[in-house]
Symmetry: C2
Amino acid sequence: MDKRRADIIAEEIEERIFDGRYQNGDRLDEVRLAEQFGVSRTPFREALQRLARSGLVELVPRRGAFVRQPGPVELMEMFEVMAEFEAVCGRLAAKRISDEALADLHDANDKCQIAVEALDPDSYYVENERFHKIIYRESGNGFLATETRNLHRRLQPFRRQQLRLRGRMAQSMEEHRAILDALEKGDSEAAANALRGHVAIQGEKFYNLLATLKNAAE
Amino acid sequence: MDKRRADIIAEEIEERIFDGRYQNGDRLDEVRLAEQFGVSRTPFREALQRLARSGLVELVPRRGAFVRQPGPVELMEMFEVMAEFEAVCGRLAAKRISDEALADLHDANDKCQIAVEALDPDSYYVENERFHKIIYRESGNGFLATETRNLHRRLQPFRRQQLRLRGRMAQSMEEHRAILDALEKGDSEAAANALRGHVAIQGEKFYNLLATLKNAAE
DNA sequence: ATCTGAGTTATTGTATACAAAACATTTGAC
DNA sequence: GTCAAATGTTTTGTATACAATAACTCAGAT
């Protein structure tokens, strides 16, 4: 049961949904797209199922596959859950993190700082991601780390937009320091709270962004 | 894209895995089982993919589908995450729960009490589940509630065994009371801690040991 | 005797053909 | 003119046929 084709197709469709080529509600025509990808309907349908699982596509029985972007409410819910996931990772990591991982965190944070000073949001994004993923891993719970990474990935396109907002990076750095502090002290509650706040703010910022977009559209 | 057949098949296979007819590592032969279910390989393979996504089956490219039960470590990880999910639900529900839902919780808890006194673990199980699902819902976050229900469902077979092992229903009732108390007071932290403890009770210390061992091995 | 390798078999992955259901269009009645 | 029914078309769901790859077997060499 080789999923390579289906995987490649699923990723490509995902890409097209993220960059807006496929809009919310668009129907994904099996025959047309399968032909476009140069495969038959069978593997293409596998890709659709995969996308349905990750929530990007809705499969309506006997009707077809439709692009399904999360609405504002669902998105806010997901950001809230993301904040809580990260908080849980932090809570566990505070008790389990290794010295080596702490050093890695410091390194990632230092590179974040450099990126802030260089006004380089792209490399900030990369290093910030590394920072967070170390914490996921150091939760010592592989299942949690995987779930958290999955949700992180799903929110990635939305997060990226809001990162560009003004003055966010500097504030983020302070929050990182608080997180590092709590982890070094092994203070679970402080680590959880710091991470929750850090990520929740992104959600709020995102909400503001949404609101402005919506106002502009009306 | 009607999933009814595939759904029915997936559920049946799931049942067979849970009740032990299919053991860990067993290969699920496409042609033999598809024939047994009276369908062709196409819908049967859809069912396999579905099972793979819920983690019960591993799809090895060009090798086939294999039953994959979580091992002890993964199981402990999942229980730990379950405890944290419930804690998050409690944290949010403490601020958002309605009076009506609180009344429902009291009702479920009363019925739990009756079940304890009647030494009726089956109806205790049912009412306890209702108790917890109310909290998921009252988190006010549909995404979180769904994720929590999914994990709950996945752990169900293991939880059931465990419940029977010890006569910890009475202890459980005390914990329920603490949870209710915190929710009524709107105390997020207390609700989260009570729920985490309630669900996590099983071998948390053992897991800490496991996690450190695992980290040390890496 | 064991290991290697070619040929065979079995099984997965993919394409296509067919069936059934939903959708659209046209025709007919009121 | 509008609504409705019926037929035709499109599209999904399923079965089957075909291709590709991995597993197995058995013969032969070291």
